[in-house]
C-alpha cells in the first residue's frame, strides 16, 4: 500500500490547470515599464480627476523610497518592474448599453470560465462585476440593485459618479504608505469593484467580482472598496484565474472594507490564479493587501478564503476591531502543490471593548509546496474583555512539502483571553486503510479526508460557491481534471 499510496499522491499532485487558456482579444496596452509618466498616462487613459492623479503620484513617490519586504517565508525571484506592462484594456470599450456591445471573444472567455455575462443566464441571485486585465467589462444586475440604493459598479465608474464617497473612504483602511505592494497599487491601480450598501439595507443577492488576467507581461492591480453603512448586510465574493504562461505575472491588489455601526460584511475569495507548472515554472505572484475596518459598534467583518492558485501567495486579510462589541473572523484554506508557496494569515487588532475575533486556518501541502500561516492577534490597552480564538491546522501529503506556523500574540490588557492552537499531521495510513476496507480507493479516500478537513471553512462560503470550492480543492489535489 505504501507504494500504491506514493503513486497516487504523485498522481494527485501533478494535476493540470484548467483555466490556462488565452483569449485573443484586441487590446490597448501601454509600453512596459514604470515611471512617473506611466502613472500619469494611466490616469489620462482613465480620464481621471486631478485629485486622483495627485493620490497616485504621492503614492508613486513614496514607493520609490521603499524596499520589498523580506520577512515572509517565501523564495521569490527578483521582480523587474521595468519589464511589466502596467495597463492593458480590451479595445473599443465605448458605451456598453447592452450585452451585445461586448466583444464576442470576451463573452466567450467568460462563458468558458463559467461566468456568463448575461443576467438571465447567470446563477440566480448573484451579481457579477467582470474585470479583465486592467478594466471592468460588465457589471450585471446594476439596475436591480440601484433600485434599493445599492451602488455596485467598477471602481472607475465610482470615481466619476460618486467621487465624494471614493474620496472619503479610499485609503482610510489601507493608507497609501501601508506596505510596498499596497503603495505600488495606490500608484498604478487600474480598476476593480466599488460597492456601497446604504443604511438599513440587506443586500438581496451575492455580489461578486471575477478577475481575469489575460495579456502577457501584464501586471494586475485592482482595487476594491466596499462600504457597508449602518445596519446593512452584504455578502461579497471574488474569483480569479489567469492563462498558463512560463513567465511569472504580478498581481498586487487592495481590498478595503468599512463596516459602520451594526453592519455586517462577509467577504469570500476563491483564488485560483495560475499556479505555475509541475516544475514550478511560471505562475502568478499574488501580493494582496486586504483589510477591513469594523468602524461602528457591533459591526462584523468575516473573511473566508479558498486559496488554491498562484505560484506565490502573500496575503493577510485583516480586521481592525475599532467599534465596541465588533467581531472579526478569518476562515482560510490554502493549498500549495507542486512548487507553490503561500505565506498567508491574518491580523486581528482589538481596539474597542468586548471585541471578538476567530481565526480558523487550514493549510494543505502537497508536492514540493510550502505553506506558512502567519497571524497577529493584538489586544490594545483599552480593549477590555477582548476574546480571540485561533486554530491553525496543517495537513501534509507526501514528504517533500512543508508546513509552518508563525502566530504572534501581543496582549496589552489583562481582561483579554487569547487562545491559539495548532496541529500538523499527515493523512493517517489507518484512515486510508479504513476507507479501503469499505471499498473506497486511496485516491477517493484522500479526497474525502481533505474535504472533511476543510469543511469547517468551506461551510462559511455562500452555498453557490461552496460546491465550486470543494471541486476546486479536489482538482488542485487530485489529478481528476478532464
Amino acid at each position: 500500500m505504501e507504494k500504491d499510496q506514493d503513486k497516487i499522491i504523485s498522481d494527485v499532485t501533478t494535476s493540470e490547470y484548467k483555466y490556462g487558456f488565452y483569449s485573443d482579444i484586441e487590446m490597448d496596452r501601454i509600453p512596459k515599464g514604470l515611471n512617473e509618466d506611466v502613472v500619469r498616462l494611466i490616469s489620462v487613459k482613465k480620464n481621471e480627476p486631478e485629485w486622483l492623479l495627485d493620490f497616485r503620484l504621492k503614492s508613486y513617490r513614496h514607493w520609490l523610497t521603499m524596499k520589498m519586504p523580506t520577512w515572509p517565508n517565501l523564495k521569490i525571484a527578483p521582480i523587474n518592474y521595468q519589464d511589466i506592462i502596467f495597463y492593458a484594456a480590451p479595445k473599443e470599450r465605448k458605451n456598453l448599453n447592452s450585452i451585445d456591445d461586448i466583444d464576442p471573444e470576451l463573452k466567450k472567455t467568460f462563458d468558458k470560465l463559467g461566468i456568463p455575462l448575461q443576467e438571465q443566464k447567470h446563477l440566480a441571485g448573484v451579481a457579477v462585476d467582470a474585470v479583465i486585465d486592467s478594466v471592468s467589462i460588465k457589471t450585471t444586475f446594476k439596475e436591480t440593485l440601484a433600485e434599493m440604493g445599492i451602488i455596485f459598479c467598477s471602481f472607475s465608474d465610482a470615481v466619476k459618479e460618486y467621487p465624494d464617497l471614493v474620496k472619503r473612504y479610499m485609503g482610510s483602511v489601507v493608507p497609501y504608505t501601508d506596505n510596498f505592494f499596497a503603495t505600488l497599487n495606490s500608484a498604478v491601480f487600474s480598476d476593480g469593484s466599488f460597492c456601497y450598501i446604504p443604511k438599513g439595507i440587506r443586500c438581496p443577492m451575492e455580489l461578486s467580482t471575477y478577475f481575469r488576467i489575460n495579456s502577457a507581461n501584464t501586471g494586475q492591480f485592482e482595487r476594491t472598496l466596499l462600504i457597508a453603512d449602518e445596519e446593512s448586510y452584504v455578502s461579497y465574493l471574488e474569483g480569479c484565474t489567469a492563462p498558463s504562461r512560463d513567465e511569472n505575472q504580478l498581481h498586487a491588489a487592495i481590498v478595503e472594507i468599512v463596516a459602520e455601526k451594526n453592519a455586517e460584511v462577509k467577504y469570500s475569495t476563491v483564488q485560483n490564479w495560475y499556479p505555475g507548472d509541475k516544475e514550478g515554472k511560471g505562475g502568478v505572484y499574488n501580493f494582496v493587501t486586504k483589510r477591513g475596518m469594523c468602524k461602528g459598534e457591533s459591526s462584523k467583518i468575516s473573511w473566508t478564503q479558498i486559496e488554491t492558485g498562484s505560484a506565490i501567495t502573500w496575503k493577510y486579510p485583516s480586521c481592525i476591531l475599532r467599534g465596541d462589541n465588533s467581531v472579526g473572523e478569518f476562515y482560510s484554506v490554502a493549498v500549495t502543490n507542486n512548487y507553490q508557496q503561500a505565506d498567508t494569515g491574518t491580523k486581528m487588532t482589538h481596539i474597542g471593548k468586548n471585541t471578538r475575533s476567530t481565526i480558523v486556518s487550514k493549510g494543505i501541502s502537497a508536492g514540493h509546496g510550502q505553506n506558512s500561516y502567519r497571524g497577529l492577534v493584538k489586544v490594545l490597552k483599552n480593549a477590555t474583555n477582548a476574546r480571540n480564538y485561533s486554530q491553525c491546522d496543517s495537513l501534509l501529503l507526501g514528504d517533500k512539502c512543508g508546513a509552518h506556523t508563525f502566530p504572534y500574540l501581543e496582549v496589552d490588557n489583562s481582561t483579554a483571553i487569547v487562545e491559539h492552537e495548532a496541529t500538523t499531521s499527515k493523512i493517517g495510513e489507518d484512515q486510508i486503510f479504513y476507507c479501503n476496507q469499505r471499498g473506497i480507493s486511496t485516491e477517493d479516500a484522500i479526497g474525502l479526508i481533505v474535504n472533511g478537513y476543510a469543511r469547517e471553512v468551506i461551510n462559511k462560503l455562500p452555498m453557490e460557491f461552496a460546491v465550486e470550492a470543494q471541486k476546486l480543492l479536489q482538482i488542485s489535489l487530485e489529478g481528476s481534471v478532464g
Partner: protein
C-alpha cells in the same frame, strides 16, 4: 548589512581594548575562537527589537550603560567565594560557586568526585583535558542571528566544566551557584561546558543570584553534550534583583536515544532572557523543556526555545508558563523545526500566561516549521486571567478570595514545578513559588544557601 548601532560600537571597542588582557589568562585553544567570533559579532551586533528573535525585548536599557569589567578575578574575591563554597557544600549536592563569572578556587582548579566525574574551571580543563575539550568546545553554541553568543565566545574566559565519563550514574546532583557581587556596576560573561558521555546519568542545578545592589549585566553561554542513551537534567533557578539583567543561552546537543530535560524557574529579576536550544541529533532522542516565571514591578522576562528535530523518531515537549503582576512584561518565543528527514517526529508545545493587572503585557510567538510529513506536532498558547468559575467554586467552599487566587496561581505554576525530578528541590521550589506569590520573597543570599 545593517548599520552598526552606537551600542554595538561600544562593545566592539571593549573587545579591542581588552583582548590582550583576556588572551593572556586564557588557554590557547579558547583564544583560537576569539577572532572569528568577534568577526561574527561585529556583523550581527547587540540584538535590537528589529531582530525577529528579540522583537519583544529591549536590551538597550542594560547594554547602554558603563560597566566595570573584570577580565581577571581578584584574589580577595577568591577567598570570599571559597568561604561561600564551604557553606554550599553541606547541601545534598556537589557545590560549585562562580563569582562574577570566574571559578574562584585558589588551589584546586579541577577535582574528581567519588563517582569519577570531573568538575572545575573551564579554563583549567582546556589544558588538562585538551582532547575532550577540543572535541566539544564551541561545537554546539552556534547562531547565525544572535550576536550575543559570539560576544561571549570572543570574550569569556572561564566558567564551569563538568565531565561525566561513559556509563557513570550520578545520584547526587551538582549545584552551580552564580554569584555577582561588586562595589561597581559590572558586566560579566562566562561560559560553561558539560559533557555527559554515553550511557551516563547526570543532573545539574544552576542558581543565579545577585549579592549586592549594583547594576549587573550577565551574558552566559552553556554548551552541553549528551551522548548516546545518556540522561541529563538541567534546572536553572533565577533569583536576582530588579537592577540586574541576565541573558543565558543554553545549547543542548543530544545523541541518539538520549533523554534530556531543562527547567528554567525565574522567581525574580529585572530583565531576564533565557535562550534554550535543543538539538535532537540522533534517532529516538527525547527532549523536555519547561519554564516558569513570576514577574512584577517593572520586570521583563523573556523565554526563547528552539527545538531542532534533525533525525527520525524523536520526541520533544515544551511547557512554558508566566504569571505577570504590576506593570511587568513578558515574552515567549518557541520554535519547533522538523527537518525533512525527521520522520516520525512527535513535537508538542504549550505556553500559558496569566495577566494579573491591566498594566501587564505579554507577547507570545509559538512557531512550527515542518518539512517532514510523518509527524504529529501541535502547539497552543493562551493569555488570560484566572478562571472566574474556578475562583467562585473555591469561594463557595468557604475559601476567601485572596487565598483562592493564591491556590489557583500556585496550581498554575505547579504544573511546571512538578517536572523537577529532584524531590527536595521540587518541594523547595514549590515553597519559594508560594512565598513569591504571596509577595514575601525578597532577594537574599540565605535563600540560596538553604536552597535544598
Amino acid at each position: 548589512m545593517k548599520e552598526k548601532s552606537e551600542i554595538t560600537e561600544k562593545y566592539l571597542g571593549l573587545y579591542k581594548d581588552n583582548i590582550n588582557k583576556i588572551s593572556g589568562i586564557s588557554s590557547p585553544f579558547i583564544n583560537s575562537f576569539r577572532a572569528p567570533a568577534f568577526e561574527k559579532f561585529s556583523k550581527l551586533g547587540i540584538p535590537s527589537k528589529k531582530d525577529e528573535a528579540y522583537k519583544y525585548t529591549n536590551l538597550n536599557i542594560f547594554f547602554d550603560h558603563d560597566y566595570e569589567n573584570y577580565f581577571m578575578p581578584v584574589p580577595a574575591d577568591f577567598i570570599k567565594a571559597e568561604e561561600f563554597r564551604c557553606e554550599v557544600t553541606d547541601l545534598d549536592a556537589y557545590g560549585v560557586v562562580l563569582l562574577n563569572g570566574f571559578y574562584p578556587t585558589l588551589n584546586e582548579k579541577l577535582r574528581q568526585l567519588p563517582s569519577g566525574v570531573w568538575i572545575g574551571s573551564l579554563n583549567a580543563a582546556a589544558v588538562q583535558f585538551s582532547d575532550i575539550f577540543e572535541k566539544n568546545y564551541g561545537k554546539y553554541a552556534k547562531s547565525e542571528t544572535d550576536g550575543l553568543i559570539h560576544l561571549n565566545t570572543a570574550m569569556a574566559s572561564d566558567g564551569v566544566f563538568v565531565y561525566i565519563p561513559e556509563g557513570v550514574h550520578m545520584t547526587r546532583p551538582v549545584q552551580v551557584v552564580n554569584l555577582v557581587q561588586s562595589d561597581d556596576d559590572t558586566f560579566n560573561q562566562h561560559r560553561n561546558l558539560i559533557i555527559a558521555e554515553k550511557n551516563s546519568n547526570f543532573s545539574i542545578i544552576i542558581c543565579d543570584h545577585t549579592l549586592s545592589p549594583q547594576k549587573f549585566l550577565t551574558n552566559a553561554v552553556t554548551e552541553v553534550f549528551v551522548g548516546e542513551n545518556a540522561h541529563f537534567d538541567i534546572i536553572r533557578v533565577q533569583n536576582e534583583h530588579n537592577n540586574a539583567c541576565k541573558i543565558t543561552s543554553t545549547f543542548i546537543h543530544q545523541e541518539k536515544n538520549s533523554v534530556t530535560s531543562s527547567n528554567n524557574i525565574t522567581l525574580h529579576g529585572g530583565l531576564i532572557r533565557n535562550n534554550t536550544y535543543h538539538y535532537l541529533g540522533g534517532e529516538g532522542a527525547e527532549s523536555y523543556s519547561y519554564g516558569l516565571f513570576l514577574a512584577d514591578k517593572w520586570q521583563h522576562i523573556d523565554n526563547f526555545v528552539n527545538v531542532d528535530h534533525a533525525f527520525p523518531h524523536c520526541t520533544s515537549n515544551q511547557l512554558f508558563k508566566g504569571v505577570l503582576d504590576d506593570m511587568s512584561t513578558g515574552a515567549f518565543n518557541g520554535r519547533i523545526l522538523v527537518r525533512p528527514d525527521a520522520q516520525g517526529t512527535l513535537a508538542y508545545q504549550k505556553n500559558n500566561n496569566i495577566l494579573l493587572t491591566d498594566d501587564t503585557k505579554m507577547d507570545t510567538k509559538p512557531q512550527l516549521e515542518i518539512f517532514a510529513d510523518d509527524v504529529k506536532c501541535s502547539h497552543g498558547a493562551t493569555i488570560g486571567q484566572l478562571d472566574d468559575d474556578a475562583l467562585f467554586y473555591l469561594q463557595s467552599r468557604g475559601i476567601n478570595k485572596r487565598e483562592a487566587r493564591l491556590m489557583l496561581m500556585f496550581g498554575f505554576a505547579h504544573e511546571v514545578i512538578q517536572n523537577i525530578k529532584i524531590e527536595p528541590l521540587r518541594e523547595r521550589m514549590d515553597n519559594l513559588v508560594m512565598q513569591r506569590l504571596k509577595g514575601e520573597l525578597s532577594r537574599c543570599a540565605s535563600c540560596m544557601v538553604k536552597c535544598m
